[in-house]
């Protein structure tokens, strides 16, 4: 072995040692669980029983006999479907604070302030805002004479889901704004100047320059919005725990209940597979909508 080869082997050993701990963690907590979920979903299994192959039975039960699954699925889709509203609001705000506005940094900080908060605490804060007697929202509605009786936002079948979604908007708005601001700042200024020289009106500049060049950032916001329906577990758990009935049940809360409430790990795994497929399908769909090359964004 020459000196160079020995040095090369030593370097390879070093690379392996340095990478191993991280790869081990990702194997144990990302890759293995993904495969295990799929395996579990085709078996009847609980911690005390040996696994038995049952084919698609878990999926059949879900689709044919499980109303809660359909509730959870439609609520999840509504949750995701509302994300564009928050993204549009965030876009308006980022256009306002992007330019030469004095104090823009302060506005940005205030809008972003709710994002790093503990979601459980956000849930408790909003529960309190919606409260019938001590809550700010009912107080304003009643003082302004819009309602006579206090509104039970979180106990109402119709209002519970929108109420939770509003709380979620409050937390995530700042994150959308930051993503869109990063996108806005990467648009070359000379495009606007050229358009102005040519006499292009403001709304056309927005539609022809800003919006098309912002597509990758908007795609990112949509992906964040889709993932947000997974991470909103914390919010739902403290605000409504899926209730009233299953009016605010999301797939993620149902997975938790099936897995750790009823110890049906096999069924929960099948639900997870459906949720993961939903995530992939929606992401691909959003990517198509945004022009198909948004994944190549790499600064």
């Amino acid at each position: 072995m020459t000196w160079f080869e020995r040095k090369r082997t030593r370097e390879m050993a070093l690379v392996a040692c340095f990478l191993l701990p991280s790869l081990l963690i990702f194997f144990l907590y990302r890759i293995l669980p993904l495969g295990w979920n799929v395996w579990l979903s085709f078996h009847a299994w609980s911690p005390l029983k040996p696994a038995k192959w049952i084919g698609l039975e878990n999926y059949e039960e879900m689709v044919l006999d499980d109303d809660v699954f359909w509730d959870a699925l439609s609520n999840t889709l509504i949750f995701i479907g509302c994300a564009p509203l928050a993204i549009a609001a965030a876009l308006a705000i980022s256009l306002l604070v992007n330019s030469d506005l004095k104090g823009a940094a302060i506005y940005r900080t205030i809008v972003f302030l709710s994002y790093p908060l503990m979601t459980v605490a956000v849930g408790i804060i909003w529960r309190w805002l919606y409260d019938e007697r001590g809550g700010f929202i009912n107080y304003v509605l009643r003082s302004a004479g819009i309602v006579d009786q206090p509104v039970k936002f979180l106990q109402s079948f119709d209002l519970a889901l929108p109420s939770v979604i509003l709380a979620d908007f409050w937390q995530i708005l700042g994150f959308y704004m930051i993503i869109l601001l990063t996108g806005l700042q990467s648009i070359p200024q000379h495009l606007y100047e050229a358009a102005r020289v040519d006499g292009v009106p403001a709304h056309a500049r927005f539609l022809r320059i800003t919006l098309p060049l912002l597509r990758p950032s908007i795609f990112l916001c949509i992906v964040v919005g889709i993932l947000n329906s997974f991470t909103s577990f914390d919010l739902i758990y403290v605000m409504t725990n899926g209730g009233p009935g299953h009016a605010t049940e999301l797939l993620i809360t149902y997975i938790y209940k099936a897995g750790f409430g009823q110890t049906r790990f096999d069924y929960a795994a099948a639900l997870t597979v459906v949720q993961f497929l939903l995530l992939i399908v929606l992401t691909v769909f959003a990517n198509r909508l945004s022009g198909g090359n948004a994944g190549s964004l790499e600064r």
């Binding site: 963690i25 907590y29 990302r30 506005y107 205030i110 809008v111 709710s114 503990m118 408790i124 990112l220």
Partner: protein, 270 residues
């Protein structure tokens, strides 16, 4: 581009800011008041502000225990992720045969949301024998892909000549990382520390699954438990909320730039 006046924009942004700040004010107000918080109409300004509720938090619930658990879990996650992410980030700056595949593997791992892994992740943690322990709660956060790439980019920005010179001087690889690269990567370190802190401090679903005994519960679990036990009849709950939010807010306000940089680089790469 320049509208005739900035005032309309200021007015809109001031209204937006007030709307965004109301929830903060409302919870702070409630935590400071001694009156019956369920009386209608609620007061906009606390009549007789005091800190009794904050004292109550220490006596009504095992707050110090929750705090200890949260601090230890966050400290473990921060220390572990710094060590492993720096090592992995450095390894990826080297040239080796499977490099492209490993980068691809890491990028695709980033697409798997942690929430989609909870059932098997629980079984794996149980098999490892670390359920209901600090290590069990911190384990999935011990290495984070976003931060590996942030370190890789930061290390690659260091001039090769500097590293070669250190190697000629006989420094070992690990020493090159600690003595040369890390001092030049302060911003990457800050991003890693802040993101890992926020993630571990705020984590709820995973600790909820992994912990069994009240002694191992972290602050978010304590908060949810307090809510269900007390059925929000007391202002102490809101004092608890304020106490729990302070560290995250303080860190965010102190290191806004690093925090936002970490989030956006994570978002754009994910």
């Amino acid at each position: 581009m320049r509208p005739p006046s900035a005032w309309p924009r200021h007015v809109i942004m001031i209204v937006v800011s007030i709307l965004m700040l109301i929830p903060f004010y409302w919870v702070l107000k409630t935590s400071l008041t001694g009156e019956n918080i369920y009386a209608y109409p609620p007061r906009l300004i606390p009549a007789d502000p005091h800190l009794f509720n904050y004292v109550d938090v220490w006596y009504l619930i095992p707050f110090p225990r929750y705090l200890l658990n949260s601090v230890i879990v966050s400290a473990m996650a921060i220390a572990g992720s710094l060590l492993f992410n720096v090592a992995a980030g450095y390894a990826l700056t080297k040239d080796f045969p499977a490099r492209r595949w490993i980068v691809l593997l890491l990028l695709s791992c980033m697409l798997i949301p942690f929430q989609a892994t909870i059932i098997p992740a629980y079984l794996i943690t149980s098999w490892l024998g670390v359920l209901d322990s600090w290590l069990g709660i911190a384990l999935p956060l011990l290495s984070t892909i976003i931060c590996i790439f942030i370190f890789k980019a930061s290390f690659e920005a260091v001039p090769r000549s500097l590293i070669d010179a250190a190697r000629v001087d006989g420094l070992s690889e690990w020493r090159i990382v600690v003595r040369i690269l890390l001092p030049l990567s302060k911003s990457a370190i800050a991003t890693n520390v802040i993101l890992t802190f926020i993630w571990s401090w705020n984590a709820f679903l995973w600790p909820l699954i992994v912990t069994r005994t009240p002694e191992m519960q972290t602050l978010p679990l304590g908060l949810a438990r307090f809510l269900s036990v007390m059925e929000d009849t007391t202002g102490a709950l809101y004092a608890f909320v304020v106490l729990v939010l302070i560290p995250g807010l303080a860190i965010f306000l102190m290191a806004q730039k690093e925090f936002i940089r970490g989030l956006t680089s994570g978002a754009t790469k994910g």
